[in-house]
Symmetry: C4
Subunit: 225 residues, 4 copies
């Protein structure tokens, strides 16, 4: 297709990266069967690369990833794209700094989703990565813009890169698809640890100034420069 001629190499690389990142979802048991996916924005183009719908993780290849435009229409690929494509396309349209989106139904985040309760920030790891509580998004049904809108509305008023959609599951964003996967992994880890702690009593809170200091340090000092 001529529209893709000038980004062929970028798309080839993103197909490979998006495909490989799904291994992190299975490794950390964030997904079962075919229920969860990763997508990436094609930088500088109104395009995204996403998992095909209903295909098992073992059967994913760079070639069966699907390229869509930001209205969710297939531009390149033999398969139907993930049924979450519309929601993720909405996020890319509305949040230009987002380079990757991940969707999971991970267990402990799902438990908070069912009660519609945000995960309080009572672990240093939560302050580091989420800068506060992990918020709950509205109940929204698949098929129009309401999931996408719920994600964007919630994350626009939070420092958190992950939102737990009510009765549904997690959407995580990042400047890169890899960072979005990291947010999805840590969302489940924090949701699990806080859940388990609360089974036997109330958490000791962390003061807001410490949350702020931890978030600032993790965003600006942690890792390799």
């Amino acid at each position: 297709m001529t529209v893709l001629a000038d980004v062929g190499d970028t798309i080839r690389a993103l197909r490979k990266e998006v495909c490989a990142l799904h291994e992190q979802l299975t490794r950390y048991q964030l997904v079962v069967w075919t229920a969860g996916n990763v997508s990436a924005r094609v930088p500088g183009h109104d395009l995204l690369v996403i998992k095909p719908s209903g295909v098992a993780y073992d059967d994913l290849t760079p070639e069966n990833m699907v390229v869509c435009d930001l209205q969710g229409r297939v531009v390149e690929g033999e398969h139907a794209p993930s049924s979450d494509t519309d929601a993720q396309a909405y996020v890319y349209r509305e949040m230009p700094h987002v380079g990757g989106v991940v969707h999971t139904h991970s267990t402990y985040a799902g438990a908070w989703a069912i009660r519609g309760e945000p995960v309080p920030c009572v672990l240093t790891m939560c302050a580091d990565e989420f800068g506060g509580e992990i918020p709950i998004g509205p109940f929204a049904i698949i098929g129009d813009d309401s999931i996408g809108r719920g994600i964007v509305d919630t994350l626009s008023t939070s420092r958190s890169p992950a939102v737990i959609m009510r009765n549904h599951g997690v959407f995580a964003i990042g400047p890169t698809p890899r960072k979005a996967v990291a947010a999805a992994v840590m969302c489940e880890d924090v949701a699990r640890t806080v859940h388990i702690s609360r089974q036997l009593g109330e958490p000791v809170p962390i003061e807001q100034k410490h949350v702020d200091a931890l978030f600032d340090r993790y965003q600006n000092v942690y890792g390799q420069r």
Copy 2:
């Protein structure tokens, strides 16, 4: 055996498929030791292919799968068939649209089984796959038709492809053995997430109209056509 001459290729393929699907049971930790099995109907024949009894998952091969008629009698194979063969044969006799049956004692479904309590439909994934709550079947003891009858009676009055038999475990059905395995995997996933959520409070319900819309969409739009 002459009875099998005209379905030799079909049976060879089903032996391979049924054997391979057991890997999904161990991967998702739905079974321990030898406690769980998959079977497939031989389409157009009153026959099924099932796991041998008490054989470890590592030792399963296409060759040691057992072919039985729908009264549970061995037609081809060196091994005794699963002790659940009678129950599964009953399902194939009574439910002609069923192409595969799976039995597990998966942990969280087992927890609901012990209390004899259905899993309420409070997750979109549950609405998608089960179209409502995951029902409880009666207590039934092995050795006659009572398990098979309990499965059929329960699933005939439900949209769910899985039933949790009281004090026992899960039986899941599908138009194909692979779809039955998917139902068993998601049954445990939903049972786990809802259980964990309820440890800390009551679920927010999903309105019936949303359950219906999600079920309809998942059955008719999701996946590859």
Copy 3:
């Protein structure tokens, strides 16, 4: 050593089998680090084969298994035997039908151990394998016969092949080491499922006559003849 001349082949085979069975303990996450072991009786001799003490599971080989007499003294092997050797030797002395013993600190059984509470028989799998509740043995400290005596006293008055020693962990027995491992695996599975169920309410009991029928069938009909 001359005492071993006539059983050299048997011991070689048992070293291999005992070593390999430890893979089942790690696969089912019944043990961490070096905390758990399998032993086998050398049939017709007052000897047993057991794991060396404090050696990591990855480093086990048939050659570093240790042969001891039934007083727990090393007869063949370069390593110190498991610190549970005395307890297991006691079991082999007092229970001539036992061919294998397994010790674990598996998590959910350990949770019942801490409360000193037997696991009630509310799952068909528990009736099948244990013929009733999984009993609690006394608190006993390592270093003399008290652990061995606690195991034998408890299992002599039960149909169960596994005992949960108070504040400690599981000892499982079987006519073969493989059957003892199966009992240890199912002990944890049953302890886990019943624990989880009770978090949200009381179990529905299984009538004694059903427990008896299930136990009888599993011992006499299940598996390959």
Copy 4:
């Protein structure tokens, strides 16, 4: 670098050992993504070897481990060291018998951390390895000596080789890095088993004299001499 000329072989060996020990953290699921690390003292030198910051476990190699002095300054290596280097350097400075330090955010220990509650010694394995309860350290924020000081202050008044820092995670020490990893593994195992037990009732305590006897035996008799 001339300062390292006489310890080149030692450091090469420690890079390999420290790198390899991280596999134990992932195997026992004590860490997710990049959140946890192992370090080793270079015996006889004011140096330590530690994981690079923010590098995935799959990407660790002996070569990308970082050598620092005991003020936490990089002495050899291309990468920025773990953000926990300052805390661990403090431990090596103040506790000369420590040869290895491990940091994790393991789940169940984290649950106790959030409530700021020590893990009571109600399992023989806890008496063996920790000689009593697993203590809680103070809340301390990263960036100065306060984490290191909290670790040292807590462990100096305890027989335990592991401390659970409030709202944060585990630091474990040992005479060797391998023993520190063992302590981190057993800390999570004990924290998990005791947590689960307490969900359904109160633990039966172990008498202090038995705790002392078990600790003494495990330190002096267990394993290979």
